[in-house]
Subunit: 400 residues, 2 copies
Amino acid sequence: MIAPTIPLAETAITPGAFEVLVEDRSTAARRGRLATPRGTVETPAFMPVGTQATVKTLHPDEVLATGAEILLANTYHLMLRPGVETLERAGGLHRFMGWPKPILTDSGGFQVFSLVDRRTIREEGAEFRSHLDGSPHMLSPERATDIQARLGSDIAMVLDECLAFPATRDGAAASMERSARWAGRCRVRLEQLREGEAAGVEVTNPGQAQFGIVQGGVFPDLRAASVDATVAVGFEGYAIGGLSVGEPIDVMYETVAATAGHLPESRPRYLMGAGTPEDLVECVARGIDMFDCVMPTRNARNGQLFTSQGRVNIRNARHAEDDGPLDSSCSCYTCRRHSRAYLRHLYMAGEVAALALNTLHNLTFYLDTMQRIRKAIAFRSFETFRQEFLRSVSRLAVES
Amino acid sequence: MIAPTIPLAETAITPGAFEVLVEDRSTAARRGRLATPRGTVETPAFMPVGTQATVKTLHPDEVLATGAEILLANTYHLMLRPGVETLERAGGLHRFMGWPKPILTDSGGFQVFSLVDRRTIREEGAEFRSHLDGSPHMLSPERATDIQARLGSDIAMVLDECLAFPATRDGAAASMERSARWAGRCRVRLEQLREGEAAGVEVTNPGQAQFGIVQGGVFPDLRAASVDATVAVGFEGYAIGGLSVGEPIDVMYETVAATAGHLPESRPRYLMGAGTPEDLVECVARGIDMFDCVMPTRNARNGQLFTSQGRVNIRNARHAEDDGPLDSSCSCYTCRRHSRAYLRHLYMAGEVAALALNTLHNLTFYLDTMQRIRKAIAFRSFETFRQEFLRSVSRLAVES
């Protein structure tokens, strides 16, 4: 055995127990704490994306060093490779990947819906062919729930129908209604699992929470109806899906504000798939507690780096002899140890080491931003922080 | 400034000072210590290859964790990118790449000679076109010496003519004689640099040692003549070049034994570009003190891993559910934290993290092997160690 089983909390916790510690006075921002079987998550929180059971380019100790308290992993990718059975026999996803803290798994729906030519959606669920080998698979609300139980994640997501932008009102309505029906089926299945009434599925993490997902596109009345339907089912937390898919930024912010405002105050609110550093601050101001996004990791691999003074394209020739750190305000390994000149050299020379050093920095920048947001809310200075942050990150135009 | 200048030793050292601590009784193996301006190197030593100012996939702290005490860097690659001027303005190669321990630089000759269609060799030196942009460059014995002085490496190599295998006796003789003349010119130039008589070249590391290189192909009399000519010039150490280029293994071992036997006992002996773990042990037994090779790092990136029980191809399906460590005798991060199943998953999924974890292990295996060799010589048990090592590493056939 390579590593001890990652221990669950010794005393049973209420799945998804959430506490709001401080509410901001001038915005909808709140400072909170989410309990999971593998430790608490201070909110507002950012979840790095570990698609294939790894945060790309980093090993677990490096991810911990960025300050991350929870990761997101993708059920679609993991069910295809290495496969649910392999992960189950390895003692679950945490032990397989050597990550000791909480993991949120998505339902796989988003990836399946993006396989436009390879999937068929019915009321029962989604049939699709693997992008790896064309093998046929089925993802239903019940199966998505079972798979996440078998992976042993700390927070599971319901299977929802993901709508492309733009969508007609009728399309968005029909899709939202199906998502609401599927949410109900996911919850019924989870309760069967909790009661031990689901033959053949071993529940390794009885404290797993389940979050519902609000859909409805950019139509305020559909969003409100989706909130009502999802809250009526009853989950430990609520996500806002179907945003950050190409809609104008002000539409996204308005939809977030309206939707978050309808959600229960006592439950965590998770905005799926967003966003830029500015989006994090702006959506915290609108009541969001949790985020995930591939932007810090993907941009790092493309040489696009986030700093306290704006974005930096490390390929730019102006950095070729820059002896200074990437971000003098940052305490990550990359900024403590290396110059912009060296980072540019590694990137231009095609060295893999550049990808890890860049990722380490971008993730640290995101996690540091969340920590600053939490402190600002706690110290009653969030609105001041927000104005200063937006000024500084946009001080330099994006380097192309 | 991103990092302090890597300090040189406070008191002046004799460049290349070398001490033989223990001589093995039954073989030509010896346990020694090489002094450099940036610390001592315990020998026999293995030098990981940091071609482009980085050991591929790792950052400096990870390389230090493998136990490496000295790196090799490639002058050819560095002179083209980022360029000697950039490295000089950055305060030298050590500071640029954040590596605090000794560095040996090659002369660039080996890479230039491999540019078969892009180079012209004359007595003056080698003219070549960059593999990056076709720009014309010249590498002469004097220029190779100057560049290495400007990089500030701790050990510089002479420019030699590198012969392909197989070669005719006449070809090998002519090439060996030219290498000897070039060695003389390199030494004259180094002495000019040391005396401050080389206008325009700033010597940042006055304790830099210079090693000569013995050539002569697989012809014993040419090797002996090359030793005589190179030792007559006089260097702080001597390398054996032109081996590990395709000749049969027994011919390599015989040539190493004969050549090392002719070299001065009081100076370090460096076998360039070798080899497998078995080669390290066998060539230590024949009197070699220093090695470099891309095998541990390159094989790691191809999924070929060295273990105390033989070689492992991590892509092999038999590892898909193997919960055990890659090598239970290894204390590297990879072996302490991850299972074979996880390493295989990362590799098959094309994750960059696999390359770093594999490299970390393979380098640790090489450096651990050197440490075991050094201990065995010191404890008078080298011959026993050698027999057991060869039995264990060849216990399993190479996995394909």
